[in-house]
């Protein structure tokens, strides 16, 4: 009997250690960013565009990258949801659960899920050369949309697959069409949609490789979709590549801003999630 308790105790300790290790990583990353970034972050840094020689230590800020990132994230998340939500509804309401088409589609999304963003970037870059397009905000938005669509679909699909069949029957039995039943499903899986959105926002805002070839980089804020746009991850990359320590510290300031944006979006998302969960079965 005693052995069982020792086993349970040992496993419990191992689990707690795993949890602490992960927490340790999070705390370590946040500490490094704050430690190196906090000292050089200033209002000027987040509210001004890079001046001449910003990347070799001269004056300016990275407002261009903050705005560029927000443009890309907001637009790509909107477009991504616009495409993904109908896909999820079609898979779960209009196709039967053992449909071969649904099986193949899900497998394709899994493959897309695993493709690294640099491949998306390279694919989009080839397409842009073929179409004679330059790097632009639109290119960045489109490639980021492609990047997050599999994340959105697979995360929402997992929730939608568990949608109680009883609820479908309850709606159909009142004389609702499948289209009308979408409203019921939407209410039930709304927390799943919010979670998927948070995941994809995190991926979209943090991706550098996809936008490197497509959105390009610019020291100014784009005023049209055809102009190149800077993004925070690329701004961090360029500053970290500089040999000067003070420029590298600025990269941490940019990382700090990126982390704060993700944190704010995450907290807002949780708030919305809580709101949406009110009527959930």
């Amino acid at each position: 009997m005693k052995i069982k308790y020792i086993e349970e105790f040992a496993i419990k300790i191992l689990m707690a250690l795993s949890l602490l290790t992960v927490l340790g990583f999070v705390v370590g990353i946040i500490y490094t960013i704050f430690h190196r970034g906090w000292s050089c972050i200033s209002w000027e840094m987040v509210s001004s565009l890079p001046g001449g020689g910003f990347y070799i230590g001269k004056e300016g800020g990275f407002l261009n990258a903050i705005v560029g990132s927000l443009y890309i994230v907001i637009a790509s998340t909107f477009l991504g949801l616009l495409v993904s939500i109908p896909v999820v509804f079609y898979l779960n309401i209009f196709l039967k659960s053992h449909s071969k088409f649904a099986y193949i589609a899900r497998m394709a999304y899994d493959v897309l899920f695993g493709i690294p963003s640099i491949v998306y970037g390279a694919f989009a870059f080839t397409l842009m050369i073929w179409l004679g397009l330059r790097t632009s905000l639109l290119g960045g938005i489109l490639v980021t949309t492609l990047l997050i669509i599999p994340i959105l679909i697979r995360s929402m699909d997992e929730v939608a697959k568990n949608f109680p069949r009883d609820l479908l029957e309850a709606s159909y039995s009142l004389g609702a069409t499948r289209l009308e039943t979408l409203g019921v499903m939407l209410r039930q899986i709304a927390p799943g949609i919010a979670t998927a959105t948070l995941l994809s926002v995190g991926r979209a805002i943090g991706d550098a490789a996809g936008v490197m070839f497509t959105a390009g980089f610019s020291d100014s804020i784009p005023t049209s979709l055809s102009q190149p746009a800077a993004t925070l991850p690329l701004s961090i990359f360029f500053q970290l590549s500089a040999p000067q320590a003070e420029v590298q510290d600025r990269a941490y300031a940019a990382a700090l801003v990126l982390t704060i944006i993700v944190l704010v979006i995450s907290l807002a998302g949780r708030f919305i999630l809580h709101k949406f969960s009110k009527n959930k079965i």
């Binding site: 109680p164 069949r165 609820l167 709606s171 009142l174 004389g175 609702a176």
Partner: protein, 295 residues
Amino acid sequence: MIEAFKRWSESLKLSTNQPHTPPVQGADSSHEFIPDRKFSHTQSQAPLEVRDLNLSIGEQPILKNVNLQIPRNKITCIIGPSGCGKSTLLKTFNRMTDSIEQVKINGSVLLGGEDVIHSRGADLIELRRRIGLVPQRPCPLPMSIFDNIAYGCRIHGIRGKWKHEQVVEHYLHEVGLWEEVKDRLRDPATSLSIGQQQRLCLARSLAVEPEFILADEATSALDPISSKIVEDLFVKLKQHYSIIMVTHTLRQALRIADYVVFIYMGEVIEAGDAAQVFHNPQNELTRNYLSGVFS
């Protein structure tokens, strides 16, 4: 075995002769159960008729040559052992069988001359409105108490907040839930107790004014008091609605059934008035089932 059946039958007679217990609090006994007539109604009093119904899933036959006439304004109980096809039969009445993989159906289910089995599109939607469903486990929609009842109106194009308020109050009264929830209509339906949720589901079904109500073991997930409330509601509702109920509980069937259908291995073995089926069954299988030889 026949002796055993006779003893069992006597015991049932005894229990039916017992005075009916007064309605449990919750069901508004003074309220008259009437639909509020938002929808146009057929005046048909024709029974729900099942003709030569065969249903199989893959290669497995589930229902075999079912022929039935389900009377109006009565409680029809479908009884039979587990896995005999009771729930599947019930599902064919409002075509919930559509969601079953590899299902094949032949025959017809006629409601006032319209065939449920071969209906498509708008006709099927209208037929589903006319044949309501109360599920086995309470299944409120993920919305407020108010919206659960108003949902049926909205999907059938009945607009207007005032109209919805009227409908919600009317049907919550009908199921005896109004006094319990009138101050929290905007609360999530899931905040209700299981018994209240089941009455809400019944009110939701009634709000689209069905002619038939299908109840698939509608009280099996409820505590005895809630179960009694729902049972009493069914008894009162039969003045204006026809109720088809699948039940595993023979005593429940005995308490409330007017008409009984006994199914065994996908076939209708016996169907008739409750008194006749329970007290004078014509078929050996029915006798055996009622006396507990198999269940």
